[in-house]
Amino acid sequence: MNTTRRDLFKFVGGSVVGALFTPAPWRLITDSALWSENWPGIPRPARGEIRTKFTNCALCPAGCAVRARLVGDQPVALMGVSGHPLSHGTLCPFGLTAHHLPYLPTRLKQGPAKEAAEAVSAAIAKCGPSEQAAVLDLRPGRTASWTYRRAMASVKHGLYLAPPSPLGGSAAFDLQEAKTVLSFGAPLLDGWGTPGNVIAARENFRLIQAEPLESRTASLADLWLPIRPGSEEALAQAIANVLANREPVAPFAALTGLTEQQITSVAEELAHNGPALVLDGGQTPAAMELNRQLGSLGRTIVARRETPVPESWKKAAPVTNLASVPDGSIRVLLIDESAVDGYLSWSTIARKLVRDNPLVVTFAWSRQGYGRYAQFVLPTAVYPEVFDDIPPAIDSVAAAFRIAAPLVAPPAGMVNPSEFIAGLAGLPAADALRQRADAIHKAGRGTLFTYAGAKSAALRDVKPDNFWKALNEGGCWLDAVDEKRRELPILPDTEAPGATESSDEDLPLVAITCETRAAAAPLSPLMSKLYQESNLRLAANHAVLNPVTARACGVAEGARAILQTRCGSAQIEISLDSGVPPGVVKVAAGAGMIDLCGASTPAKVVAA
């Protein structure tokens, strides 16, 4: 019996018919549909006990209180703590997603700690008489900062540097007291100070926002003064003149692009609806002069006491403003980037370095910051892993002490910058936070706020160990409000920032940077919801131009272009918006953009 093709067909036909009466085909169809629910690549969230932990956010000086939701030991969501005296239950989008930061693909996993230590020691030994070994602390006022100061005091040629700060760290703005706030471009409602505090105070003051662009703050301000870029000082001068019944006003008004009448009414409001407060990004002399004139000092700008430190720490290097260091004098520079408040453009720092072969070591989570210029980049823990304190924010009237207690353990290979720097001077640094907590406890002032029950207790009633424990569970110590706080604060001499040079022929535009937060801090990939999957916030290397300006520059919507400033050039992607003033290019601060242009810089856009 030989098989024919016909038999084969019959057999196959029969098995097809037979198969239809078995569960197999139906099961395969169902199973493949089920498989599509969990095919490879779709992760399965871990299940486990849901727990709650409290900590404080270390991403910015606001130090907002955080309630973390954990599955087992893994944080899966961060939220604000309602009823918190400082942060009022608020968390910004950066803080809300901070539990993702340990898993950033760009994160540094290891670094040459030993080699760096040797190189630093060798370089310090080589320092010439007028050369110095400095630590640049991008968030001064921490316990770690005290460690750096102590270390620098005992290191030869040691110098402790801090970036210029608006009120010198010993005064604060009291928004609760203010009735009228005039802000020269300060992002008051967009992450300034302690956002929760600003929002809580917002209903009590009238906000006048003077800035060229309609920022997030400007759009919610009671009055937005669309002034010309760089004319803040002129406006301040004009208002000051109105207040003092002085002439002239008109020429200044012309500079700002506002009418005299607008300026007069603002001045009157400031004068008659007090207490008033004048803010700007860096507290320029003009703004401070206005505050003086309006009597804000002692009312809305008040002195703040220091958070106590152990007596033995007082022998420390002084805080030196980076601006006051002579150029070309620093041979060794250690930059602590692990906690960043304001990103300085590299050119301001580079100027201070010696010409020949300076040594720059940076402590950072990634290579994207100053690591681009440093010889050694040492990896540090990121926020939900770090064990660090957060100095009080600029709008915190009372001193405060709170610790960012780690929610997850840092991976192996991380370098603790304060231990590294203390090690250079042979100081022990391990339990500095505990020592400081004990010093605070010893001072005995103020209250301890514990989150679990949203309770406040007088510090006097708390035992030292319990205080330490409470701090590690996210508690917050708040200084007692000083009766003498109405005293005039002692303010540092603020020097005018390099006044915006009048724009020259070849750089006809003014570049204004926004989204500065995104430039420095690590960002959760979920922030792409704001920067990429919507255009709520301007993404890095994107620029917005008025259509008229764009036409003049020969660029179109979506085009790639080159932004040029005196410091260099970068590629940007253009979008058009007739709400941007002509002659202005609004750029997002991305990696490198801060180095290119400050708050507002002459610039030029050419088609790529």
């Binding site: 019959k10 036909g13 029969g14 078995t22 099961r27 395969l28 089920l34 969990n38 399965r44």
Partner: protein
């Protein structure tokens, strides 16, 4: 041969029926033994444990599922009896403090939100209603996993979604898919 075509056709039908009813149900599952030969019966009888003694609820109402090693180690830090199973358990898991990789038969798929407490506490459903006599078995069945869908066999074998729906419908509690799905 007159009926040759028919016979060949029928042979095809029979082969397919055989493969589909006998071979396929076996082939579709991947079998894996449980890490420890645990006897519910022994624990219920000798230790007098009730289900909720080990399979407890937490304060927030979540179900603690299979107890962790701590719970076992509470009694079994050292051998209590003389069974091989217990000795293996202690040697392999208790002493090195390693969680046994239990495979949960009734673990619901990722897209199902099953709340034990609403069923047990609010609706007074007995464990046996869904888990059958699992609590009085002497050995643990091997864990069987569908090779394609990856789901445990027992999620679907004894109780399908239709059974959930039938009971919910009976009690007027069937409102939407998202009642149980997430």
């Amino acid at each position: 041969m007159k009926h040759r075509g028919k016979i060949v056709f029928l042979a095809g039908v029979l082969v397919a029926l055989g493969a589909g009813w006998l071979g396929f149900p076996r082939a579709i599952y991947q079998s894996r033994p449980q890490p420890v030969n645990f006897s519910h019966k022994v624990h219920a009888d000798k230790a007098g444990s009730k289900c909720e003694d080990c399979h407890a609820f937490r304060e927030d109402g979540t179900f603690a599922d299979i107890p962790s090693l701590d719970k076992c180690a509470g009694c079994h830090a050292a051998a209590m009896g003389s069974t091989v199973a217990e000795k293996n358990f202690i040697d392999r898991y208790v002493t090195p403090q390693r969680e046994p990789p239990w495979a949960s038969y009734a673990r619901q798929p990722e897209n199902v939100y099953f709340s034990h407490i609403t069923h047990v506490k609010l609706a007074q459903v007995k464990c046996e209603r869904c888990h059958g006599g699992e609590g009085s078995t002497d050995t643990l069945r091997p864990y069987q996993q569908d090779r394609i869908s990856g789901y445990s066999r027992d999620v679907w074998r004894d109780m399908k979604m239709d059974d959930c729906v039938a009971c919910h419908r009976q009690h007027g509690l069937e409102h939407s898919c998202l009642d149980c799905h997430k």
